[in-house]
């Protein structure tokens, strides 16, 4: 009799504990949702500010000056002669070309902080190099075998990238990573030719897309980052 009472009491206690835990988890969930929503809103507003400021600041004249400076650096690299005559000739050429083509080099740049983008892009290059090396070893191992185990297929996925330049970076990265080439981009849908099922599944997890979005400071990467942070906190709380 006492034993059954004891068992009942312990079961009750466990149930109450479980309810309390569920309740606590629900509170934590809603709190996380709220904070992530708020930070996302805040970040979006800040980035919007940066964008509008950049749009205002980037007038045609600034484009002209930037183009001329970059082209002059390129001219000095090409020329390799540092006497006054050739430097003046280069300056005249660069000013003329920058006047004619000032709308090409900096068209629709909507990213705000160019330094951050440049730094992130430079840190992206070594990873890409490793990927290219792996893809070449993949092709080599494929080609040097007598019977080639390939099963080509076309896969499509919808991208969330918005600017042209990040689409180009993603497409060229896909072309250079193992087993995939970009065949077409139509209205934000990528058509990718993959050599095997494994590579296709790897691509569809979207890790590379997040990486590229992180580089070019697209708005969506904040959401992804929030989810990752929340997952970490959640795992820490669970254990």
């Amino acid at each position: 009799m006492e034993v059954t009472l004891l068992v009942e009491a312990t079961e009750n206690a466990f149930r109450i504990l479980g309810d309390a835990r569920k309740h606590a988890e629900g509170i934590i969930d809603s709190a996380l949702e709220l904070t992530s929503e708020e930070t996302r809103h805040h970040e979006a507003k800040r980035i919007q500010e940066i964008f509008t400021g950049a749009q205002k600041r980037k007038t045609a004249f600034q484009n002209f000056i930037g183009t001329a400076v970059i082209l002059y650096a390129f001219w000095v690299l090409l020329s390799g002669q540092f006497d006054a005559f050739h430097l003046t000739l280069g300056a005249i050429c660069c000013i003329v070309v920058a006047y004619l083509y000032h709308d090409l080099l900096f068209a629709n740049t909507r990213v705000g902080d160019m330094r951050v983008v440049a730094w992130r892009f430079i840190t992206y290059i070594p990873w890409l190099m490793v990927q290219i090396l792996m893809s070449n070893l993949h092709v080599a191992s494929l080609v040097l075998r007598r019977k080639m185990p390939i099963n080509p297929q076309v896969l499509t996925f919808k991208t969330k990238l918005e600017t042209d330049i990040s689409c180009v970076a993603l497409a060229n990265s896909i072309t250079l990573t193992p087993g995939t080439i970009t065949m077409d981009i139509r209205d934000g849908v990528f058509y990718v030719h993959a050599l095997s099922k494994k590579v296709a599944d790897e691509l569809q997890t979207g890790a590379m897309e997040d990486r590229v979005a992180h580089i070019f400071m697209e708005a969506d990467h904040l959401y992804v980052q929030d989810v990752l942070d929340a997952a970490n906190i959640y795992a820490a709380l669970r254990t």
């Binding site: 390129f74 004619l100 083509y101 090409l104 042209d164 180009v168 060229n172 981009i185």
Partner: protein
Amino acid sequence: MIRESQDVIVKTLARLLVPFIVIYALYVVMHGHHSPGGGFQGGVILAASFVLLAISQGLDKIRQRLSEKTAGILSSLGVLIYAGIGLLCLLLGGKYLDYGKLSKLLPVEPAQARSLGILGVEIGVALAVMAVMCLIVFTIFSFDEDSGGDE
């Protein structure tokens, strides 16, 4: 007729590469006396930059930058520069295209005047070659102006 490309990648790459190609072409023209190249090669590379723009942005936008009338005027201007420098040397008492005589007009040594004269002639040749190449390419690209393509 060549229309605007729907491809984001080609459009963006062309936009980024064209100013550098033009600068490279001008380098080839200007450094003709101590590197391979000169007027003709530089003009061809300039025309190549226009071809790259034409296949990425369509022929209509290129006509806003360089219309066929302007190309015709530029080709004549190039020939005029070439012949004018030659005739100037003739008037100054030398032979045709004898650049050393240009030192009478310019405040420099005859050797340097020779280099400057070659530079002027190369600019003329580059202008003429670029304009004529662009005219040929535009004519080829606009062969079926009325019938619609698929892009």
